[in-house]
Symmetry: C2
Subunit: 255 residues, 2 copies
């Protein structure tokens, strides 16, 4: 994923491998689609194809949740939807705050699929006083000053950071201090958090750069090197090496 995973040593909470947890939402999506078509059961083969994974992997993943299949038949779709939802904690309501209502923050706020999975946008928060009160996605934006009280009043434990890079760490610190223990970070920065707080990051720029790497490999398989590398010690600020700044991106997004 995109998305990069975060440094989770080997927490393997209660025996469910992290890699499996990351795939459960994928299965859940495929199962929900089947459920809507009133399909009663699926085989591991069919479901795996729909989720884009190996069938053996899928069976092993499900085996961590328990034995929910019937040999010779497959899995009961409705039952599996329930079990996975429960395992992921989606049977309860998760109030979420979004901090940084720029282009991206607004896009996230408008995201319909948000609410459909147990997530509820409790508040939109921005540092710009001019934004305060302005409704985005039907929810009035509130000023950063109220961050702490919003978190505490609503019992928010999940925060989404969509601020510029420079503001991310301070915002993160305030969120954590106020009681948030899970953070989804869209800002192009490495966040430092105390133990017990989970951080996941979504970084557009990283994804694009990984694509570029493979693209370059695909394209230049024969023409090995065009330009030779410059000397290691000398000042080297020519041509393409000299890209713009990174720490202070103008817009509101991953860099």
């Amino acid at each position: 994923m995109a998305t990069g995973r975060t440094h989770r040593p080997a927490t393997r909470s209660r025996g469910i491998p992290e890699a499996t947890v990351a795939r459960l939402p994928l299965y859940l999506r495929a199962l929900t689609a089947l459920s809507e078509r009133s399909v009663p059961t699926v085989s591991s083969e069919e479901l795996a194809a729909a989720a884009g994974v190996n069938s053996a992997k899928l069976r092993k993943d499900f085996s961590y949740l328990g034995s929910y299949g019937t040999r010779g038949v497959g899995y009961d779709v409705e039952y599996l939807v329930y079990q996975i939802s429960r395992e992921l904690g989606l049977t309860q309501d998760w109030p979420v705050v979004i901090v940084g209502i720029g282009n991206l923050g607004a896009a996230l706020a408008n995201y319909g699929g948000f609410a459909s999975r147990g997530f509820r946008v409790a508040a939109l928060i921005d540092a710009d006083p001019a934004m305060a009160g302005k409704p985005v996605a039907g929810i009035p934006v509130q000023h950063s000053d109220e961050l702490e009280s919003i978190i505490q009043d609503n019992g928010v434990s999940i925060g989404v950071i969509a601020t510029p890079a420079g503001a991310a760490q301070p915002v993160c610190d305030r969120l954590v201090a106020a009681g948030v223990t899970s953070i989804l970070n869209f800002a192009p920065t490495v966040l430092t958090v105390p133990d017990g707080v989970d951080v996941r990051k979504v970084d557009l720029s990283i994804e694009l750069q990984i694509l570029a790497f493979h693209e370059q490999r695909k394209a230049g398989e024969e023409a090995t090197a065009q330009t030779s590398a410059p000397a290691p010690a000398a000042a080297r600020r020519d041509s393409a090496t000299d890209q713009g700044p990174d720490g202070d991106v103008p817009a509101v997004m991953p860099a």
Copy 2:
């Protein structure tokens, strides 16, 4: 991650492990920041801390690129910026098209860090005729009809899909047919592509669900199970299990 990674079996292109490739952009960002502060050299320890990784891992990563460090001193910042940029293919210009100019597409188009790393928004494409000609981020939106000609005229090899889920696969097919070989997918769907085409996905909903999983684990460590599981075969469409649809999200975003 977010991003979730895609099914790349073990391609390990020319000896550089996939995991290392995924970290190179992280190092590059930290190095660029150092470069702006005119820091001449860094130790693996310092750089690793800035990038949020283990120093041994960082050294091993760099060893795949060659021996660019000096023992007793560290790494030459400028030189390393150049080497990583070159390795990632960032010394050349990558024209990119964004398809689906909803909230998210617009956010991506406005993203400044886009251009700073060798990526250039060649065109914005949307299926809505009402959008055609309207400028977003200074670039006029073009209609889907022109997708093929835009790709070919600009030599685009990287496409970003920010459409609703239902439109993603058809758009993907057209992109691939027109010559795109790398796709960054924001739509909540598993895309099917022919061999030789890379797909990476960024899925907000999946990231949130993973956070919810860990959050639930943190919260309910003592209170094991509140509600008992329903019977496997019976109709079960109660309470929280009954979430809304997923395949056809109203907004323009991951689900």
